[in-house]
């Protein structure tokens, strides 16, 4: 067997034990064989150290995962890995990103606890009864109204039958916009004709004493219902008060709003598919607190796709253009302004500005939209938003923007 073949088989692990023993013996005396071994070992070692061949380019890895709609592996995931980075905000973002799971879990646990406590302490808020859902606020206001308008409430006797009330309720169904609620606490005495007349008189008096803007049109007045509810506690009328929708919406107890939204974004991604995150993609969760009737402050967590386009040097001074479409976790602080003068029926237009960061860099957003509130406890949200993100790769700053529509729902507590 030729010397180069023997050495090849030896390095290949396919030389028999017998031949291997012969090789070791020969090596001590055969210079040519030793040289052959050195040469082949040098080739083998050189190939073993060929990291360039065995390391796919970051751009290729990102391209593959993006094409398949997957989130790239960590080493290629975010542009500011390696030498890049590192504004203080980016560091904060990195820390926030690292603890995103803990933060999300904490917020979820806190919210769940809050809801459970609320259910335990204020069960009527979660009741299906229409009366129960509005009673607390209405009675509170009614009591004020009562003090202003009614001087003889303690003298008001008993009234009405259930049948009358039902008929009146049917009659009011056509006139929802001008519903007037009135609460009268009564005793179980038998109704008499004169008592009914007295109550009607009081009601008329109350209407007259209301401001002009709140008084009912005469054509509708005849259909207005004054439901009367029995109470074992008192025999007094607590007053009448007219509610409009705006007051109803803003009358949440704690001023806390939880908001869920989804998004559809438009960006020029050159045909690149966004990376997906199957559990949560382009969805945001917000927690807000009302400061007053017009302002809310809060935080938003969002999983979102952001198309990034940047350049960098890789390997042996090769300049590459990278295009990635990763899925990022963003946390922003937000302020929402809903001007009173723009509120119209159930619609409440707003402007929201947000500042924060994600695991690529700082981010700022605007969001113009409107709330539609068919009920005081929840709203539907629709609007247009724009986001701009600053990021850094190999010490060069880049900015990326996107625009889209947002839609979702919020729940008020």
């Amino acid at each position: 067997m030729e010397k180069d073949r023997i050495i090849h088989d030896f390095l290949d692990g396919s030389l028999s034990n017998e031949k291997e023993a012969e090789l070791f013996y020969s090596l001590s005396s055969d210079d040519e064989l030793r040289m052959e071994l050195k040469e082949q070992l040098a080739i083998k070692n050189a190939i073993k150290g060929d990291l360039k061949a065995k390391t796919p380019k970051v751009a290729s890895t990102m391209a593959i995962f993006s094409e398949l709609g997957f989130t790239p592996p960590p080493v290629a995931n975010i542009p500011n890995t390696g030498s890049a980075v590192t504004s203080p905000l980016s560091k904060v973002a990195a820390v926030l990103s690292k603890y995103t799971g803990f933060i999300a879990t904490g917020i979820t646990a806190a919210l769940t606890t809050a809801v459970v406590m609320l259910m335990l302490l204020e069960p009527e808020i979660f009741s299906n009864s229409d009366l129960a859902s509005v009673s607390k606020d209405k009675i509170t206001v009614s009591e004020q109204n009562d003090n202003q308008n009614n001087n003889n409430q303690n003298q008001i006797p008993v009234i009405s039958s259930e049948e009358d009330t039902k008929q009146e309720s049917v009659a009011t169904a056509d006139n929802k916009e001008t519903v007037v609620y009135k609460y009268i606490y009564i005793t179980k005495e038998k109704p008499e004709a004169k008592d009914v007349a007295q109550v009607e008189s009081i009601v008329k008096q109350l209407h007259q004493s209301e401001p002009a803007s709140r008084s009912l049109p005469s054509a509708i007045e005849s259909k207005v219902v004054f439901p009367i509810y029995q109470s074992p506690v008192s025999n007094t009328i607590v007053g009448a008060y007219r509610f409009d929708k705006t007051e109803e919406i803003s009358s949440s107890n704690y001023g806390i709003v939880i908001e869920f939204r989804s998004a559809k974004d438009w960006t020029n991604s050159n045909g690149l598919n966004p990376a997906s995150y199957q559990d949560w993609n382009n969805i945001s969760l917000g927690l807000f607190k009302s400061v007053n009737e017009e302002f809310m402050l809060g935080v938003e967590y969002r999983r979102e796709n952001f198309y990034l386009d940047f350049k960098g040097i890789e390997g042996e001074n090769d300049m590459y253009k990278y295009e990635v479409y990763p899925n990022l976790s963003s946390l922003t602080a937000a302020v929402r302004y809903s001007p009173d003068f723009m509120k119209f029926y159930d619609l409440s237009p707003f402007l929201q500005l947000s500042l924060g960061a994600n695991n690529a860099g700082p981010i700022g957003r605007f969001f113009v939209g409107t709330e539609y509130s068919p009920h005081q406890s929840y709203s539907l949200i629709f609007g247009i938003d724009g986001s701009a993100m600053r990021y850094n790769f190999q010490n060069v700053d880049y900015t990326s923007q996107k625009y889209g529509i947002q839609f979702g729902a919020s729940f008020k507590f």
Partner: protein, 189 residues
């Protein structure tokens, strides 16, 4: 990663790829971690053209994923990947004349690597491009991608003996081309 996917076999991972669950992504990532180096080395060293190699490398994994999603039943994932890469490389070679760029004979210092080894590696890669395609392919699969002779035989559709022969012949050719350099290298040591 939700589970320890490194513990799964290739076949199990391939089955996960066929499913539509989120495990599919993690399974793909695990297979990519396992075989991307070998496939990349194959593309780069067989073609000798970085841009083309990167394109084919990307296409290989994309085709692989789409094929496996179509319920491909290959039990040898690495072999399947190389078969895809090989077909793409052959298509590329058919369309492109085999040339060696002169400037690739230049070598240079690299910060992080031994100068001699880097120099030798450049020479090997240049010499590799001068070796016939069949021999080069078998050599790369053996030395770079770590294939067994059986796997090489399967991928290249030849016998095991033929695979061994091709690897050896490729090494001989490389040595012939590098002979002057190797002699100097031996003297220095």
């Amino acid at each position: 990663m939700a589970n320890n996917f490194a513990a799964y076999s290739d076949i199990e991972l391939a089955e996960m790829l066929s499913s539509s669950t989120k495990d599919s992504e993690f399974a793909f990532r695990e297979l990519y971690d396992r075989y991307s180096a070998g496939v990349h080395a194959y593309c780069l060293r067989v073609l000798g053209d970085e841009d083309a190699a990167e394109d084919i490398f990307q296409e290989t994994f994309i085709k692989f994923y789409k094929n496996v999603q179509g319920n491909h039943e290959s039990k040898n994932i690495q072999g399947f990947l190389i078969t895809i890469a090989r077909n793409l490389c052959l298509n590329y070679k058919r369309d492109k004349k085999n040339t060696v760029e002169v400037d690739k004979l230049d070598f240079y210092m690299h910060d992080n690597q031994n100068y001699e080894q880097k120099e030798l590696l450049d020479l090997i890669n240049t010499a590799l491009e001068l070796v016939e395609y069949e021999y080069r392919e078998a050599f790369v699969l053996r030395e770079y991608s770590g294939f067994s002779y059986q796997d090489i035989a399967d991928a290249c559709e030849i016998t095991v003996a033929n695979a061994k022969s091709r690897v050896f012949r490729a090494k001989q050719k490389i040595k012939e081309i590098l002979q002057p350099y190797l002699k100097d290298l031996s003297k220095l040591r």
